[in-house]
């Protein structure tokens, strides 16, 4: 049971934060290209999902899974996008991502007048609290399942 990595994007596609805890394989492209790829994919899949939905959409795109990992997605009405990759034993990380938004992002960054929003987040406090939170998750372990 583990968490692989986390991305936070703002409404303009800027990657505000990225961290990894248990990533065995890299993408083979630069971090900048990786963020663009991730954001582009999210943008396309959200639009696809809402267009092709056979019913009225409520929350939209939530997650996808492969044979090895699951990608969980949470978007706020302000366009802030949280992406968490975990292994398959984690069913839904929506609560986790909501907690990261409400209790970490909003409390430590939005309410900090020194933190400039819209660019890469550089708050030690945020990084360490987030790290402690992820490591404290019931489904986190240092080794992948």
């Amino acid at each position: 049971m583990t968490v692989h990595n986390l991305y936070i994007f703002d409404r303009n596609g800027t990657c505000l934060y990225y961290n990894e805890w248990n990533r065995k394989k890299q993408a083979g492209i630069s971090k900048e290209e990786e963020f663009k790829l991730m954001y582009g994919m999210l943008f396309s899949i959200r639009s696809f999902v809402s267009k092709m939905s056979p019913l009225d959409m409520k929350d939209g795109f939530l997650s996808f899974q492969t044979s090895r990992y699951r990608l969980h997605y949470y978007e706020t009405p302000t366009g802030l996008k949280f992406v968490l990759n975990t292994d398959l034993s984690v069913g839904s990380a929506r609560d986790t991502l909501q907690h990261i938004y409400s209790n970490l992002y909003v409390e430590l960054l939005v309410k900090n007048p020194v933190c400039v929003l819209g660019q890469s987040l550089e708050s030690e406090l945020f990084s360490s609290r987030l790290d402690a939170f992820i490591r404290g998750l019931p489904y986190y372990s240092p080794r992948a399942a």
Binding site: R11, K36, G40, F43, T78
Partner: protein, 185 residues
Amino acid sequence: MLMFCCCLLQNSELFTLTYGALVTQLCKDYENDEEVNKQLDKMGYNIGVRLIEDFLARSSVGRCQDFRETADVIAKVAFKMYLGITPSVTNWSPAGDEFSLILENNPLVDFVELPDNHSTLIYSNLLCGVLRGALEMVQMAVDVRFAQDTLRGDNVTEIRMKFIKRIEENLPAGDDQEERKMVFY
């Protein structure tokens, strides 16, 4: 949560006095009502773009379906949460794109009287900026202004809000084609 509410009630005077000190200082710095109004709006805007995140985090309100729902959420949830008052939503335009918030009392103006030489000062203009900034972050461009103000002799305080347009989400700067190629290679 209860303790937080108690603190808020005790601090409401501090809040009112702090706001008053802010406006007074701006008047001294700028000496011109129009300029002070603009500064209040700008400060309000900067507060609004952050306040919306706190609001969404604490209220778990999802996306509103239309402007009417937005109006209700602003009046019944947001104003209640931050100022402890619930303005009424009235005077809808026929097109449904404009409405008024009527505030029976305005906590910002407790103890305040406008002197004669500041007749064009919009004392609570910060609120207009806050509403404008907050809604912009949820993809709505709105125009917000005071239509009536008890400080200027009217019976009630009326904030008029008009929906201008939806702000569309764009792909980040850079070649759109390139973005799509990257996604599908």
